[in-house]
């Protein structure tokens, strides 16, 4: 049975392994250089306090590779579910070969156990190798990324650490189960893709924020959470508040960020002008004709201090970066349980219902 499983999987397994070896080699060759560039840059920027500029420059130089690799790790579990999971049973049903193989002297349960075990292990290995290699390679970039691309950011989180292994195991068993229910290969593949994509969107949006109770905090305004202040002619002062960063917690995953006034009420949006997508604009009733926030004085730091003095604060809820590994384990655990549930179901179905 092990031989048959290997015989049927070996083509795609060999190809996957080859691609992974190429990827891992490329990362192993370029990783040390990336790390040393980072180390040199840090050494140079720390004394004169220009590290924010260094981070921006360093990240911008490698952002294409960073994004591409992140995307690869996100896509691998889907591919595994699509090309290994969905056809596993449906291809046999479609070709009628289940009638051949399920009538050798091996029960269906055993057949499925060996298939799920070996192919599932291969799927997890592929995603795990890919995920851990990219995590290692990206470490310097993860430390210099803009808040939207930090390790805890929804897109990046799923492409780091051990989570990809959990996703791959789940996607694989999901594919197998869908294949059993749908019984035809192409519809099973399409349905697996749709279902997996929907789950991968729903988890970061609806589930992950609640894995632990988020921390709330109120912060003074400053360089880390303000993306600028503007004073349009004759209008009120515009404050561009970042929605994905809080001061003192670099790399935190910010769930909500708003501007409140001295009495704790949220400040409204003003005349509807907009800034960069990573900010919200709030109108603060401060004189823009004279004082620290007049056009002449805006270039200095006085205006921010004036807004802080008037009691304006950023109120935010967030998950600090220290929660990265706890979140990785919890989320992998959840996917592990889902995988187990689908596995139990598929064994029950192949014994009782499928013919």
């Amino acid at each position: 049975m092990i031989w048959l499983t290997w015989r049927q999987l070996r083509g795609s397994a060999t190809m996957t392994a080859a691609v992974l070896v190429v990827l891992a080699t490329a990362l192993a060759l370029t990783g040390p250089e990336l790390a040393s560039t980072y180390a040199v840059g840090i050494e140079a920027c720390v004394p004169d306090g220009t590290c924010i500029d260094f981070f921006d420059r360093f990240f911008a130089e490698h952002d294409m590779a960073f994004l591409a690799l992140t995307l690869v790790v996100l896509v691998v579990p889907a591919l595994v579910g699509l090309f290994w999971g969905a056809p596993l049973v449906s291809r046999e049903l479609e070709a009628g070969t289940h009638l051949l193989v399920w009538n050798q002297s091996v029960t269906r349960g055993r057949w499925l156990a060996v298939k799920l075990g070996l192919a599932g292990l291969a799927a997890m290995t592929a995603a795990g190798v890919c995920g851990l290699a990219v995590t290692w390679w990206s470490a310097p970039l993860d430390r210099s990324a803009v808040p939207e691309m930090a390790q805890m950011a929804p897109i990046v989180f799923g492409a780091r650490g051990i989570a990809p292994m959990g996703y791959a195991a789940f996607a694989f068993v999901l594919g197998v189960t869908v294949g059993m229910l749908v019984r035809r290969m192409l519809p099973a593949m399409a349905l697996t893709l749709v279902a997996f994509a929907a789950i991968q969107l729903a988890v970061p949006l609806l589930v992950r924020p609640h894995l632990m109770p988020p921390v709330s905090g109120t912060f003074e305004l400053g360089r880390e959470n303000l993306d600028g202040i503007g004073a349009p002619q004759g209008g009120s002062l515009q404050v561009f508040l970042r929605t994905s960063a809080v001061p003192g917690h670099p790399g935190a995953w910010v769930l909500s960020s708003r501007l409140i006034d001295r009495s704790g009420r949220a400040v409204s949006a003003g005349d509807g002008s907009s800034g960069p997508s990573s900010t919200i604009v709030r109108a603060v009733p401060v004189s823009t004709t004279s004082g620290p926030c007049s056009p002449q004085a805006l270039t200095g730091g006085g205006c921010t201090a004036e807004i802080n003095r008037l009691g304006y604060r950023q109120q935010a809820t967030y998950h600090p970066l220290e929660r990265f590994w706890p979140f990785q384990w919890i989320e992998s655990g959840i996917y592990g349980l889902l995988t187990l549930g689908l596995t139990v179901f598929s064994f029950w179905w192949i014994r009782r219902r499928l013919s």
């Binding site: 048959l4 049927q8 070969t97 051949l100 193989v101 009538n103 002297s105 091996v106 029960t107």
Partner: protein, 244 residues
């Protein structure tokens, strides 16, 4: 006399339609049993139930004293070659023999090799590139070399030319005699079965019309040949007095 297959009020429903209902038969061991009936009569359903590929909706079926398909020991005793003789298109002939060898405790490797050689199946050839007849022969080889006590064949000769058809049926008769093998095969061509069967079951409209030894059936209707008799039973015009 021991039974190879016993069914009591066996029925199978797909959705709201009964593919087979109220099927009660008792097939003695050591026979070559022909299952005949028009398309859609329930032949495949009965064979799949016997092989353990389907679970009955009602009634029960016992094959060689056990419940079909649930344990390796039971699976090893019953061979099944499905309709259309499915094989793995991307695997070679040798791969298929290896599947048989790896997955069956009583695999008869010399028999499989001899058969494949005799029929001119190149061992390195992918099964998908074989002709329809060759693919059928490969699937039949797997069924025979498994060395079951009961071999179930669903329309096994449908894609064989008349010569290969006759040769295979002869081979089957031989194997039955040599290895005390019971055979249950379906066909809608009575002429195929006439050659080798000593027991016949006629299915029509999801029900068993008649089941019994060919000799006794013919003796009950002196002027009729097997073909006419079977056709008469399919029609429902014959009296089911031989039914048991």
């Amino acid at each position: 006399m021991t039974s190879v297959l016993q069914a009591q009020a066996l029925g199978k429903k797909y959705g709201r339609r009964w593919a087979l209902r109220d099927c009660t038969i008792d097939i003695p061991a050591g026979r070559v049993v022909g299952l005949v009936g028009p398309n859609g009569a329930g032949k495949t359903t009965l064979l799949k139930l016997a092989a353990g590929q389907l679970e009955p909706t009602s009634g029960a079926v016992t094959v060689l004293g056990g419940r079909p398909g649930h344990e390796p020991a039971q699976l090893a005793k019953v061979g099944f070659v499905a309709q259309g003789t499915p094989v793995y298109n991307t695997l070679t002939v040798a791969d298929h023999l290896r599947i048989g060898a790896r997955l069956n405790p009583r695999w008869d490797a010399p028999l499989a090799l001899e058969r494949v050689e005799r029929l001119g199946l190149a061992r390195g050839q992918q099964a998908g590139r074989l002709s329809g007849g060759q693919r059928a022969q490969l699937a039949l080889t797997l069924g025979l070399a498994k060395r079951p006590e009961l071999l179930i064949l669903d329309e096994p000769v449908a894609s064989l030319d008349p010569l290969a058809r006759r040769a295979f049926l002869q081979e089957l008769t031989q194997a039955a005699a040599e290895h005390a093998l019971s055979v249950l095969l379906s066909s809608h061509l009575v002429s195929d079965l006439e050659q080798i069967c000593d027991y016949v079951i006629v299915l029509a409209g999801s029900r068993v019309q008649v089941a019994g030894e060919v000799g006794r059936l013919l003796a009950g209707h002196p002027p009729l040949g097997l073909e006419d008799l079977v056709l008469a039973y399919m029609d429902g015009s014959a009296v089911a007095e031989v039914r048991r």
